[in-house]
């Protein structure tokens, strides 16, 4: 089928051929941009951000240079820094479209799925999940989630599967809240609806329209879920397998304001009610229904007479849900831009518009229109001018309020390990005296309750003195230190290689001179090279994504 413009083409000797040619081209072109009849949403982002700057009289940072952009987008999309070769190639590439190409390549990289799954895993569990013993080892869950991102399953789809918890590996999210429907309701609302409801556990919310009944109404959807042990994990791994069952009866009890509670007060059963919506329309149980007793060791429950879980999932993941898509867009925005448009990302109860209301609405609308396509959303964000601003500027906050320069975020424990491995130049590096739990312990929670970074003593003692870090840096056949030591290039060039390998940029004149002086200050080159690489991985520049 030809698109309409072809008919308007002029008639002439070559008109037929030309029109066929053009029509094919147009058709091909239209096929590629089938969903993008309108301007890419990133233009809307940049336009509104610029309008805010004009209004606030802010001079934004300039566009980030290639090196800065390269490191930033690598860490954000695939969870590590680029190798020396990747950095050199990108910086030397004269193609004006090289950033776009790089983005596309990284979005298609298998590490993209691992990195996005790691980000969401941390959102879903945190560093100290409840029911820790049961979910500490959750490789099956991580594999399940990584697979979702590898297939680029729509956000609403994988969240539906997560909340139904019927697929192998998906159960862990619920397992951490076993027998704690109130905590599960809090986590669910916070993560998927962008709303903190826990204050209403004890008292009606003082300002927003949220009562204790709303809170217990949400908990009602989860109160019948049970984590059933299935036995040990395969291969002697720590932890157990679980299935999630749902009972046909049972309600949460609500007794009133926590301050006025007396011991022994039981409370009244509360029926499920959708947050900000209607009570669940629930049929009565058949007369004489008796819940079968759940005996120890039972591995599955019959399907419930009526599944509250399914009703909640249907409501939550519907495009018509007022919170779901918006909260997701805002969370992904914050992942790449530092602050949420609504900030913090779980404060929709206090603020539904945020700093860029137009952007939030437009992104949400198009996210739904693109069928919750995560890769599309992330691609648009990292292609925006806003994301690609430089990291320099007078503003001191890590997360500038008006997005006038790139955010500064600490690397996660996993990113630090991966970046050390990339920088150290030994791709095969595995155990070799490196224990991941140490990295998680010392780099796992680097912020205070406000999300502000705080350097800690233990982190630096570990960096200064641990063989776990040194293993990546010290000379080993074929790694960075070895390459530098055995190279016959002038020291200045070797310093360049060191900087590109670790910081993804070339050194300044003064840095080059200082490092060259250091590296030639003593005939014992091995020690000097290791020290110099140690210095680079201990800089602020390495510690953060900026």
């Amino acid at each position: 089928m030809h698109p309409p413009p072809c008919r308007e083409f002029p008639v002439g000797p070559f008109a037929g051929i030309a029109s066929i040619f053009l029509c094919c081209a147009l058709a091909a072109c239209l096929a590629i941009t089938a969903q993008a009849a309108e301007a890419p949403v990133r233009q809307a982002i940049d336009a509104e951000v610029r309008a805010v700057w004009a209004k606030e009289k802010i001079t934004p940072a300039p566009k980030a240079d290639d090196a800065t952009f390269l490191r930033r987008v690598h860490l954000d999309l695939v969870g590590t820094i680029p190798t020396y070769e990747e950095a050199r190639q990108f910086l030397e590439d004269a193609d004006a479209g090289k950033r776009d190409k790089l983005i596309q390549r990284l979005l298609d990289d298998p590490r993209y799925a691992q990195q996005q799954a790691a980000v969401w895993d941390l959102t879903l569990f945190g560093r100290n999940p409840p029911n820790t013993e049961a979910v500490r080892y959750r490789e099956p869950f991580k594999r399940w989630l990584t697979d979702k991102f590898a297939r680029n399953e729509p956000y609403d789809g994988w969240v539906r599967d997560l909340l139904l918890a019927e697929q192998d590996g998906s159960e862990s999210f619920y397992v951490q809240f076993n027998n704690k429907p109130e905590e599960l309701a809090e986590a669910f609302s916070r993560i998927f609806l962008g709303t903190q409801i826990q204050c209403a556990r004890c008292h009606d919310h003082p300002s927003a329209d949220l009562s204790q009944k709303d809170f217990y109404g949400m908990a009602g959807f989860f109160v019948r879920l049970v984590a059933l042990e299935q036995g040990p994990l395969e291969g002697g791994k720590p932890g157990k397998k679980y299935k999630i069952g749902e009972k046909s009866s049972g309600d949460v009890l609500f007794a009133g304001n926590a301050k006025e509670l007396k011991p022994g007060m039981k409370g009244e059963p509360v029926k499920p009610k959708f947050l900000g919506g209607a009570p669940l329309d629930e049929p009565a149980l058949p007369a004489g229904f008796k819940e079968p007793e759940i005996k120890t060791g039972v591995k599955s429950l019959p399907k419930p007479e009526f599944s509250r879980k399914e009703k909640l999932v249907e409501w939550a993941t519907s495009p018509a849900n007022p919170y779901f898509a918006k909260a997701a867009v805002n969370r992904v925005w914050a992942q790449f831009m530092g602050r949420g448009i609504v900030h913090p990302v779980d404060s929709f109860l206090d603020d539904t518009k945020g700093a860029l209301p137009g952007v939030l609405d437009e992104l949400t609308r198009q996210f739904i229109e693109h069928k919750f396509d995560m890769k599309w959303l992330i691609g648009e964000l990292v292609r925006s001018e806003t994301y690609q601003l430089a990291g320099r500027g007078a503003v001191k906050e890590a997360l500038p309020k008006h997005f006038e320069r790139a955010r500064i975020r600490p690397l996660s424990a996993e990113e630090i390990m991966a970046a050390l491995k990339t920088a150290g130049g030994d791709a095969e590096q595995k155990s070799d005296g490196v224990t991941e739990t140490y990295f998680v312990r010392y780099f796992g929670e680097p912020v205070n309750g406000q999300g502000e970074f705080q350097g800690g003593l233990s982190e630096h003692l570990f960096l200064n003195n641990s063989d776990n870090v040194r293993a990546f840096l010290r000379r080993k056949k074929g790694n960075l230190a070895d390459t530098i030591i055995t190279s016959s290039e002038p020291w200045e060039q070797r310093v360049d290689r060191m900087f590109l390998s670790v910081l993804t940029r070339r050194p300044s004149e003064s840095e080059r001179a200082r490092f060259t002086a250091h590296l030639t200050s003593d005939p014992k080159t091995d020690a000097l090279v290791e020290e110099a690489i140690w210095v680079l991985v201990n800089t602020s520049e390495f510690r953060f994504n900026h």
């Binding site: 890590a398 350097g455 003593l457 982190e459 210095v535």
Partner: protein, 442 residues
């Protein structure tokens, strides 16, 4: 307090590069910190204790006294028995086999296995009416370290982290929150890793990664190179997280230079008689050394009081360790002039039941048990609250976790209603309605 003849101001071992109260006149630190604090209070948006008159030189001395406050927590892990220590019930069915002895306070008697502490009662503020909410170990340990319930799953900071934040020195060589033995389980919570506990063992043995693998000269060489990198980078990138990273690195280096202070092998023999030859005693001695060196908070844990069976065997043995260690600490703090600035808290996560079970044990008890305070800000020789004849419940003046913490914070000069935010949610240092126990405050 700046008397140069005081043992705290002996000549500084120059090689250590220490810069803390033992080695420099304290007021210099204080006045600088006073200014820092004033700035921090606004920047952080949090309410800090009102130091008052920061710029009034006449009040500096008074300020110095207030701001030098420290805290040592003696943590009775598992929960010590109140009836077998400070709230005895002679002649009652719940009494148990221990006898009473007289104390320095006329009419007040305590357990025969605390003879040295009996002489120190004039320094103590004893609360016999703790009525608390968390009856088990993990939740009780959490609750009695944070004054909030663990089940809220809010990342509350421990007392030690709060004290580290408000009384710690920004530029100290040593961490502001040091702990040893069995201790708290909450960490720095929402205050952040900067105030995280630094765990050592009671003999002073340091945790992993505190010994450099390079010779000192190489260390210094690489550190200098890093300093120059950071300086150049931060000239063009003056952002908060970079600065925090740099400052933490510098403090790690200072710590590594000062870490010999944790080594008690030389001075312990001379103090062993005073504190008793035990791990816990040695930990108490080290705690004294650390507060003297300017550490704001030190926690020393003693295990294990959880005597569900053989309560009396367990408590007799524990008290024989506790009595010299605790009294030795108070005596040592007093004779070094530190007691007036150092609050010493004695508590565990629960008390123990008045009823003796069929294994001669006492179980967990939260309806009326004992916590003891001494030193900075505390009125000594005060017995506050009481339990009924058999110790089954509080008879008068119940004290909650929040009330206790409000008392501790007030004694230390920290506002118990200090507010922080977790996301947008405001959280106070003590729960709403908590009241300091005025009778215990000096």
């Amino acid at each position: 307090m700046n008397d140069p003849s005081s043992p705290r101001h002996g000549p500084a071992p120059a090689a250590q590069g220490l810069c803390g109260p033992p080695f420099c006149p304290r007021h210099e630190h204080i006045s600088r910190r006073a200014l820092l604090k004033g700035g921090l209070a606004t920047a952080a948006g949090a309410v800090v204790a009102n130091w008052g008159g920061l710029f009034n030189s006449q009040s500096i001395a008074a300020e110095a006294k207030q701001r030098a406050k420290r805290c040592i927590l003696l943590w009775m892990n598992g929960g010590a028995s109140q009836i077998d220590t400070f709230d005895m019930k002679p002649g009652r069915p719940t009494a148990g086999p221990f006898r009473e002895i007289k104390t320095a306070l006329p009419g007040y008697r305590i357990c025969e296995y605390l003879p040295k502490m009996a002489q120190q009662v004039g320094k103590l503020g004893i609360i016999r009416s703790m009525r608390t909410q968390s009856p088990d170990h993990p939740d009780g340990i959490y609750h009695m370290h944070t004054c909030y319930k663990q089940s809220e799953r809010m990342p509350h900071p421990e007392l030690g982290a709060m004290v580290a934040k408000y009384l710690g020195q920004e530029d100290a060589d040593l961490p502001s929150f040091v702990r040893m033995g069995p201790v708290g389980n909450a960490g720095a919570g929402y205050l952040g890793p900067r105030y995280a506990p630094f765990s050592i063992d009671r003999g002073g043995k340091l945790p992993p990664f505190t010994s450099p693998y390079l010779p000192a000269a190489n260390e210094e060489r690489r550190n200098e190179l890093l300093r120059s990198m950071e300086a150049e980078f931060q000239r063009e990138n003056p952002a908060d997280p970079y600065e925090s990273h740099r400052v933490a690195k510098e403090s790690a280096w200072r710590f590594l230079r000062a870490r010999s202070l944790f080594d008690t092998s030389k001075d312990w023999p001379a103090h062993q008689d005073l504190y008793g030859a035990s791990d816990f005693g040695r930990g108490c001695f080290l705690a004294r050394k650390l507060v003297e060196a300017g550490v704001a908070f030190v926690e020393v844990g003693q295990d294990n009081y959880d005597s569900h069976a053989d309560n009396f065997v367990c408590h007799k043995a524990n008290m024989q360790v506790l009595d010299p260690a605790w009294s030795g600490l108070l005596i040592d703090l007093e004779r070094t002039g530190l007691l007036q600035d150092t609050l010493v808290v004695w508590m565990g996560e629960v008390g123990r039941t008045p009823v003796i079970n069929n294994r001669a044990g006492r179980d967990h008890f939260i309806h009326g048990w004992t916590v003891v305070l001494a030193g900075a800000g505390i009125q000594g020789g005060v017995i506050y609250g009481s339990t009924d004849a058999d110790g089954r419940d509080v008879a008068e003046n119940p004290v909650s976790e929040g009330d206790l913490f409000a008392t501790i914070y007030t004694a230390l000069g920290v506002d118990p209603r200090t507010k922080h935010y977790v996301g947008k949610r405001p959280i106070w240092a003590t729960p709403e309605g908590s009241k300091p126990v005025k009778d215990l405050l000096a």
